[in-house]
Symmetry: C2
Subunit: 317 residues, 2 copies
């Protein structure tokens, strides 16, 4: 057995048995049975070393982050994540690294009941590209394009902790507990699978906040041909922002990225029943503004002064 085969065997052993996987890893393609009443959701995300993660990170965390950012895309469509392919490009065969990576991979996949169904291992600069597949009833898929003027904009979680990790950890001393919180936010995003039923029932549009609320809300507005206004005082700031970066707190929450929280819109008439339903479930989401008819996106401060909210999140080039 050559080393190449060894890797594939390594990834093959721990994959979750799902009855809908008709043919798993080890052939030219995997075969899957899709329930006849469901449609298939497909999303691809790439993480490049030095861009999306640092090569010195524990490979366990790199794998978790890769899986969870992909899961986040399924959750944002209100779809159930089911299967994943992994394209792993490695500079060299480092068995210790691979062991940690595989552990993180399977821990994350098992937590979400996702089967690894295939992939490709190649030699080259470290990068991970995953394609995640999920299912949903066609009528319950939540798109970016359904926001309407008057809809309330919600955010699922306090924002900015992952961006804060990047912003402060190299520059200043941080209490060990706080460092752990920031690194957890950066390395182990928490896709809000628990909100899927609420999205299906209440949301007119949704997106996951990967590039920052400002950029991702702009995506909803572009896709829906609407504008929006956020209220500065309502943006849920992660508590550590005030402690470690009070001046940049709002900017990190709006444009820092890497939150993997949800931003979604809800028709105003449904807001009250959503809030009740969330409360009953012991959950909280944050209303942060409104969808408007004009195509601009603004943020309004406590003095009711508006300024344009530019899409200033992460850009690759």
């Amino acid at each position: 057995m050559d080393e190449f085969t060894l890797i594939e065997t390594f990834f093959k052993t721990e994959t979750l048995p799902r009855p809908d996987v008709l043919l798993g890893i080890g052939d030219d393609a995997a075969a899957i049975g899709i329930p006849p009443d469901k449609c298939l959701l497909v999303s691809t995300d790439t993480l490049v070393s030095g861009v999306h993660f640092l090569p010195e990170w524990d490979a366990y965390d790199i794998a978790c982050k890769a899986v969870l950012t992909n899961v986040s895309d399924m959750v944002a469509m209100a779809a159930e994540p089911c299967w994943l392919t992994l394209a792993l490009t490695l500079p060299a065969l480092d068995k210790k690294w691979l062991g940690r990576f595989a552990k993180g991979l399977f821990d994350s996949l098992h937590a979400w009941n996702i089967a690894l169904i295939g992939g490709d291992t190649t030699q080259g600069p470290l990068a991970i590209s995953m394609t995640i597949l999920g299912v949903a009833e066609p009528q319950s898929v939540v798109k970016r394009s359904g926001a309407k003027p008057g809809d309330v904009i919600f955010v699922s979680d306090p924002l900015g902790a992952a961006a804060l990790a990047i912003h402060v950890l190299e520059k200043q001393a941080v209490a060990a507990n706080d460092r752990a919180v920031m690194m957890q936010a950066l390395l182990h995003p928490n896709p809000r699978g628990d909100l899927i039923p609420f999205l299906r029932q209440y949301a007119s549009a949704a997106i996951d906040i990967s590039d920052g609320l400002s950029t991702d809300l702009n995506h909803i507005c572009e896709a829906s041909a609407v504008g929006a206004c956020l209220f500065e005082a309502d943006i849920p700031l992660h508590p550590l922002l005030q402690k470690y970066a009070p001046k940049e707190a709002l900017s990190l929450a709006l444009s820092g990225g890497d939150d993997y929280a949800l931003c979604f819109t809800v028709p105003a008439l449904k807001q009250e029943s959503l809030m009740k339903a969330l409360k009953t479930a012991g959950l909280v989401c944050y209303p942060v503004g409104f969808i408007e008819e004009n195509l601009s996106v603004f943020i309004e401060n406590k003095d009711k002064q508006r300024r344009p909210l530019q899409a200033r999140g992460y850009s690759h080039f």
Copy 2:
């Protein structure tokens, strides 16, 4: 519009409209309708610059090769390729390169009636990872694992031309016509979609020859828990092998790789009717040996001497 969005828009404009694409590029995930009587086939392939292609190649050819090697995986399962996601990692935004790449991408996709449904563009060392999705009736999927002792081994095309391109083009003078033939084989593999109906009706197992016949036949034997014997005299050598590399001809045909021809097995009782059916369709495939009970893979020369056929195709590490 930032440059990142520009790229996505660039790839969005030319994608093929397929009625089964419920939601295409531009949301957190694409949504697809799968026919209720079909299963889904999924395969991922990565091409890394300097490993699978040279950065100085025309980006048109790089895109074609990436698409066609992915299509080849669907054909080897006897599945119909339908949709594709593209994870493109680029060192910098080179619009001329991107234009050529997009042209090659869409030319190849349109030729196969495949819709680009999503992907990811990231900054980093040049690499292309694609996930191809296809459909087939579950009972007509052809796996690697169905070969039985006594089955005849077939190869779909003369082998070795792509490997010959790599072997000779830098070392010796080659006539312009011959160079064009070799480069065509290397850059524009020709997945045998025309053989899909024959695979479904006759084949017990199939694989596409990406790593070389020796390696890929070994994959069939491992998956099927059988052995095999090839007849040296029956291996279809590409005619240019004799002309430019007579000494290495057999070795290039067996282990050179990059052929993207099919290797498939057919129960002996069905051989005659397959040969007739192929002839009626104006097609040719090459019987090259037999599946055997013992687990070893041999090649037999014209003096009936056997030697082990080692899996000596491309290995990444």
